[in-house]
């Protein structure tokens, strides 16, 4: 029964046991230059690839956002035509969700999960390489649609039919293909993460010993496996409607445009949590480290994460309160959505209680993590308001919604990613990031983010719909503030690039345990982490875990 094994590939990891931190002569067979990166199966290198890719996409998506904000600086059409404006809002959303935030978390997972569970690598290293290299293909294709006749996708990142089918530009078929490829990448990455976490923990490490970043990613990976196929099905139905004469979403052919939204949000709402659960994990690692005190309520954090993930399958129609759902459905989705506030509240209370009677210092990772707690909670409050179905008839599709989801995604997901990067840079590079510059980046970011997104609450409540290229005069002041904030925030992110580049090139040397209060397994390997770690499994000592 045993399959015939292929001849050993020169890239396959040598079984030679090499002490951590020593030079790896056994791996001199590594290809050099581009081929090294194209063929790498090492979780650390692939993690870096993911992170660099996502940083590039963050800037591309950011430039799109700045085109939008520049046009909205004043009433009237000054810079771009509405058609291009719609392409920019659409591409900004698609790139930020699928090419910036998701790959950044996958990059962090690649780097940190094996280190945090004491595994030598991901369970499926070649699959890992494949999942990453699908992404540049997918997003080159997606971005190329902007240059096609008729322009790129212009129907919003939620691409509601029939605007995205019967009335869509010809490039939509390429958009579908790009999303399919990105979806396959996500599913494969998620399978790899589940396989790694379930099979490759250090001897003695129980599930309830795992750091929360590992836990949140395990749950996220299951969400991905559950919902990415729904997205794939949905865009395949679109493909059929556009190219093969079906009428899934075309009322004239007996189809149902609302079905599109049910399917989209059955994918889309768990997708929202895919972008925030790993952030919870990062913040749950950083706050105890810099409060020098164990995380409060480890077990309840795990249960709360699982509860949020389960609830995420039961709340999708709160994105559709005004499509004409029956009263019973409105009530069900209102109640289930409000319920999410409970486990989310538990998390916030746990973080705050972790701080209580700690010994707190304010290094850059901690600053970003604390800002995350406050600003994510503000996003949570507006989320609770949006959950109230009668009031949502007023909020729906306004800038209030734009403010809400940017609060949970920018100072939420993205601040957590940056906190994680500052936290783990010493482990990756062997140097501490330049603290002065990092703090400067933090203060610029926090001013920029609030200046950009806080006025959007008011614009939305006062009646400004989202996705409009021009607006009535009473919204002018809010929009001008937002635009100034957006440019300030955008330019501030160059400081982040500077800090990372400087940190890779040099800086204050970091010891294995780079932060005084850090406890997890990654801090037991040298800084910088050698290419191969934990080739012999570490003995997991229970007191090391956070409970």
């Amino acid at each position: 029964m045993a399959p015939k094994l292929p001849p050993q590939h020169p890239l396959q990891h040598s079984s030679t046991v090499v002490a951590d931190g020593q030079s790896h002569d056994a791996h001199s067979a590594h290809p050099k230059g581009v081929m090294r990166w194209l063929l790498t199966t090492n979780h650390k290198e692939i993690g870096s690839l993911y992170l660099i890719f996502s940083l590039i996409m963050f800037f591309i998506g950011g430039i799109f956002a700045l085109v939008v904000r520049a046009e909205l600086f004043q009433p009237g059409l000054q810079l771009v035509e509405p058609e291009f404006f719609n392409q920019m809002t659409t591409m900004h959303g698609l790139i930020m969700v699928f090419a910036a935030v998701m790959p950044a978390f996958t990059g962090l997972a690649n780097w940190m999960i094996p280190l945090q569970i004491g595994a030598p690598d991901m369970a499926l290293p070649r699959l890992n390489n494949f999942s990453f290299w699908l992404l540049p293909v997918a997003f080159t294709l997606l971005l190329s649609t902007l240059l096609m006749p008729g322009g790129g996708p212009n129907f919003g990142w939620t691409f509601y039919a029939p605007l995205s089918t019967t009335y869509a530009p010809p490039s939509t078929t390429f958009f579908i293909l790009a999303l399919h490829i990105a979806g396959i990448s996500s599913i494969l990455g998620a399978i790899n993460i589940v396989a790694t976490i379930l099979n490759m923990r250090a001897p003695g490490m129980r599930m309830m010993d795992m750091p929360l970043f590992v836990w949140t990613w395990l749950i996220t990976a299951f969400l991905l496996i559950a919902v990415m196929p729904v997205l794939a099905g949905l865009i395949t139905m679109m493909l059929m409607d556009i190219n093969f004469g079906t009428s899934f979403f075309d009322a004239a052919g007996g189809g149902d445009p609302v079905l599109f939204q049910h399917l989209f949000w059955f994918f889309g709402h768990p997708e929202v949590y895919i972008m925030i659960l790993p952030a919870f994990g990062i913040v749950s690692a950083i706050i105890p480290t810099f409060a020098r005190k164990p995380l409060f309520g480890y077990a309840s954090m795990v249960y709360a994460t699982a509860a949020i993930a389960l609830l995420s399958f039961l709340v999708w129609a709160h994105h559709m309160f005004v499509v004409g759902l029956p009263l019973a459905a409105e009530l069900f989705f209102m109640y289930s959505t409000m319920l999410i506030a409970v486990p989310t509240g538990v998390k916030v209370f746990n973080w705050v209680t972790t701080l209580f009677r700690g010994s707190i210092s304010f290094e850059s990772p901690m600053l970003f993590a604390l800002a995350f707690v406050v600003l994510f909670t503000i996003g949570g409050f507006s989320g609770l308001m949006l959950a109230i179905a009668p009031a949502d008839f007023q909020y729906h599709d306004t800038y209030f919604v734009v403010a809400h989801f940017h609060y949970v995604l920018v100072p939420g997901a993205i601040f957590a990613i940056m906190a994680g990067v500052y936290y783990w840079l010493p482990k990756w590079t062997g140097h501490y990031p330049n603290e002065k510059l990092a703090q400067c980046h933090f203060w610029c970011s926090i001013i920029g983010v609030n200046l950009t997104f806080f006025p959007m609450h008011f614009a939305g409540l006062a009646g400004m719909p989202r996705r409009i290229p021009d607006y009535a005069l009473q919204f002018a002041d809010f929009n001008m503030l937002s635009s100034i904030g957006a440019f300030f925030f955008g330019v501030s992110q160059l400081i982040f690039v500077l800090v990372v580049v400087l940190c890779v090139r040099g800086g204050k040397k970091a010891p294995a345990k780079a932060w005084e209060g850090a406890e997890d397994l990654e801090w037991s390997v040298p800084s910088p982490a050698p290419l191969h770690t934990f080739e012999t499994p570490p003995v997991f000592n229970r007191t090391q875990s956070s409970d």
Partner: protein
Amino acid sequence: MHLPWRWLLTITCAVSCSQAQANGWNMPVGVTDLSRDIYNLHMTIFWICVVIGLIVFGAMFYSLYRYRHAKGAKPANFHENTTVEVLWTAIPILILIGMAVPATATLKKMYDTSDADLDVMIIGQQWRWRYEYLGEDVAFNSNMSTPWEQIHGEEEHGEHYLLDVDEPLVLPINRKVRFLMTADDVIHSWWVPELAVKQDTIPGFINENWVKINEPGIYRGQCAELCGVNHGFMPVVVHAMEEEEFDSWLAERKEAQEQEAMGVDREWELDDLMARGESVYRAICSSCHQSEGQGALPAFPALANNQPMIDDFDWHLDVVINGVSGAAMPAFRSTLNPVELAAVVTYTRNAWGNDTGDVVQPALVAEKIAQ
């Protein structure tokens, strides 16, 4: 006695009117009972969030200040407390129930569309609204009337920039008006903040909503669902009138529409059709085919010097009446009346150097539609 009473009324009216107007920072209180309910719900939940926020952030910033490492704080080592954890799960649930009760009551009222005095069909189209007073034989289109010169910065912005229409929806106050809402092409969303009505209009579906306006006035809103390139230029204007005023408006409208229908049978001159056609073209066609018929490829072909169109009169007429299947061109059979159709076809066949000299009579169009 008489005078103070009137003064009181004026003052109350002024106060409630200023409250009802959007103050520019917050959701408007609005001019219906339901909009007030929704506003109160919004403010209640807002203040609950503020209080929770103050407690949580207060505790957080107190800890950050009090237990600074720099001040030599020694960390405690506790990491569990079942009582506290049960409490902060249970208390939020109770608060949520407290929010859900009034929300449920309001939602039930919003869904009660029974016993309406008047039914209005609202149809979303790229990019205008069409209103049909059911059973009254009154129907018209409502297009944005803000000139493109203002949008492109060639003129000063007007007072109701982007929020003005050629014909507002006219509604009576104090009567329950039921809206039946659908769309011809893509999904739109009809929204007037001061009426607290926002409802998607979806092709193939008929959604219901209702309104009973308390105060006469002009209320403005916009399309709230991305519906294509001119999504931002699809305002909603509602003109709420006293009941008697509304009744006479409706009677006048009916008569005008009958007059128009009679115009189908008479012979029209080229100049009259051209003048009428130009106004129809500006209101309906120019958002896609552009003001000088130059089009916007790839979706919207040019009409000026469009040789196939100039050569084939029957095809041209058929496209305008029945639309082009699978393309962006909708059927205007039910949106425009025969006079308007005849006028706009005449106009496009003679404007911008097309100069065919064709005069399309409304009677011919009516005949085509009947086929």
